[in-house]
């Protein structure tokens, strides 16, 4: 049987993947080892040793199992399959999974006894009491006025303006992100870009960029943008918008990838232009999910806008940060209460809207 180049290349890809997998597993095992042996941690030269060892394990496993035939490029003719079979690699997966779980648990440094610390509980109790003083109805009902200063009503009126700023920031951030994400999603969906090499490349680059943008937290974007355009709600809005573009593009692209191909093919068979196929075959199938995702994103942005405010994005978050810095726990309690009410109201509204759309 003649080995063919395509299968050989695939065999090499599998080998490379297996090698990387076992190198990563080796490093994780090293981390677990270092955790337990505090007095005898593995020095740097041993890391190299582990790398070599895990490479040997990976490559040996590769060649001792059926993958060897892939390497020769002959199995395709024998077994009529050229994909990786679950039975061939399930134990590797189980060991790897157990490894990762153990390393994750250890790196969290679980110190359960700290939860029961009396000193910590006392401080928490004091702060909670003052926070509760800031909640209007509760503090009046429990007659907490004698124990701490209640927030004056005029303060709530002052904060309402800031609250509106936050809501507007979230609203505009989402609204402006929508059209940009709407267009980008078509280029980020693999099922729409698979027919052209250039589009496939663009899709890959776009997905990578969007993943990078998304993995940078809104908080970091807030800092970066407020340095750029100055502190204020505009910076918060831009930060939210950038993060929302990346998130919505991903969600929209996934919505496109999940639609059935049938209606698209049916339109193609009538000889319709690709743009017509997009407008009449793709958009009608995804617009409901689009609206639903956008409303949900607005919901998230509203909560995030308070956080962005902390790093200079304006709105109620900035005020919250100010009061926390001055240790005005009662006012912090009042602000938190207001944020809760706003989020609850808008959450109810958005979930009803989403239900109505669906």
């Amino acid at each position: 049987m003649k080995p063919d180049l395509k299968t050989f290349r695939r065999g090499m890809k599998l080998l490379a993947f297996r090698w990387i997998y076992w190198v990563v597993q080796g490093l994780i095992i090293l981390k677990i080892w270092n955790h337990f042996s505090t007095y005898w941690s593995v020095p740097v030269w041993n890391t190299t040793y582990i790398l070599i060892l895990s490479s040997i394990v990976g490559i040996t496993l590769h060649f001792t199992q059926k993958q060897f035939s892939y390497f020769l490029g002959t199995l395709i003719h024998v077994k009529n399959r050229n994909y990786w079979k679950w039975e061939d690699c399930k134990w590797e997966f189980y060991i790897g999974f157990l490894n990762i779980c153990t390393a994750s648990l250890l790196s969290l440094k679980l110190e359960i006894f700290r939860i029961f610390s009396i000193q910590g509980l006392n401080i928490l109790g004091n702060i909670s009491h003052q926070l509760l003083c800031g909640v209007p109805v509760v503090s009046h009902l429990m007659s907490l006025g004698s124990q701490c200063d209640l927030t004056p009503w005029s303060y709530y009126i002052f904060t309402l303006d800031k609250l509106f700023e936050s809501i507007a920031c979230a609203f505009m951030g989402t609204l402006l992100a929508f059209p940009i994400a709407f267009i980008l999603a078509f280029f980020a969906a693999t099922n729409l870009t698979q027919h052209s090499k250039a589009l496939r490349l663009f899709c890959g680059v776009l997905r990578f960029v969007m993943n990078v943008v998304r993995s940078i937290e809104v908080l970091v974007w807030g800092i970066m943008i407020s340095v750029w355009v100055g502190i204020g709600p505009f910076a918060g809005m831009v930060a939210l918008m950038i993060h929302t573009i990346a998130s919505l593009t991903k969600q929209f692209a996934e919505a496109i990838e999940n639609i059935p191909n049938g209606p698209i093919e049916a339109l193609q068979t009538t000889g319709a232009h690709p743009l017509i196929v997009l407008v009449y075959g793709v958009i009608p199938q995804v617009w409901i999910s689009y609206v639903s995702f956008t409303v949900y994103r607005w919901d998230i942005n509203l909560r995030m806008s308070t956080v962005v405010g902390i790093v200079g994005g304006g709105g109620i978050g900035g005020l919250l940060f100010q009061e926390t810095g001055m240790v005005h726990w009662t006012k912090v309690g009042s602000l938190t209460f207001l944020i809760c009410i706003a989020v609850w109201l808008l959450d109810t509204f958005s979930s009803r809207l989403r239900r109505a759309i669906n």
Binding site: N82, A266, T269, T270, A272, H273, I276
Partner: protein
């Protein structure tokens, strides 16, 4: 001949077996041709190859004396606008109305001026045509309903109405009654016969039931494991040949 297939071969990506092996046949204009074969024999793949939804691994396809196997872009779209297709699972656009789905049969006409198509309304004469087509398939009163609210049989009739609007010379029907009850199935086949007789369309149809094949298709071809086993009049299809087609 409206369609001439010569040595057609096809293999799906990451598969070793050929789905179609050197299939050759030709179809005269205005004929009704039934295609039979067990599941996995390559009937649907052949339909998809003819329409350019799949890339061939070998062979040629001539539609109205023009080789079409290598066509791309606007050339492929031009040929496709003369070739209608009906699918097993209807493939209508969900959330859109019956009328919109029928009007989509006309989108091939917009192929070279798509911007006009995107921003203009549907022409009034097309809407009228769509109403007539829906009346023809007995769905005149469901014009503004969403297609999801229709039964399987009704959805397939919408797909037929879409083809009436497209007015193709060749109609490819890929198991159009596979998920329908006997009454709806008969209705669909009668509409296919009507398309053949009234509009002069050549109909190529994948059929699972021999009863329907004998009733509606004077000629047929049979596939087995990607190979052409029989082509000729349906009446001459012997019992031994049928056994050979369907035995595993």
């Amino acid at each position: 001949m409206i369609l001439k297939v010569q040595d057609l071969s096809h293999r799906y990506e990451r598969r070793v077996d050929l789905t179609l092996k050197n299939v050759s046949f030709s179809v005269p204009p205005r004929s009704m041709l039934g295609i039979i074969g067990s599941s996995g024999s390559g009937k649907s793949t052949m339909m998809r190859c003819i329409n350019g939804l799949e890339t061939l691994n070998g062979g040629t396809i001539e539609f109205q004396n023009e080789p079409i196997q290598n066509l791309r872009g606007s050339d492929l779209r031009r040929v496709r606008s003369h070739m209608g297709m009906i699918f097993q699972n209807f493939c209508l656009v969900p959330y859109a109305s019956v009328l919109t789905n029928v009007l989509l049969g006309k989108t091939g006409i917009w192929q070279n001026r798509f911007l006009g198509g995107l921003f203009s309304k549907w022409p009034q004469e097309w809407i009228q045509e769509a109403h007539q087509a829906l009346e023809r398939v007995g769905l005149a009163e469901r014009v503004h309903d969403s297609v999801q609210h229709l039964s399987g049989g009704q959805q397939q009739r919408v797909a037929i109405a879409r083809c009436i609007l497209q007015k193709p010379e060749l109609l490819l029907a890929d198991e159009p009654v596979a998920s329908l009850d006997p009454i709806s199935s008969r209705m669909v086949f009668e509409y296919l016969v009507a398309l053949n007789q009234e509009y002069g369309m050549t109909v190529l149809c994948n059929v699972h039931s021999l009863e329907y094949l004998r009733t509606y298709f004077p000629t047929c071809l049979a596939l087995k494991k990607g190979k052409l086993l029989y082509q000729g009049p349906t009446a001459e299809l012997s019992e031994s040949m049928i056994r050979e087609i369907y035995e595993t």
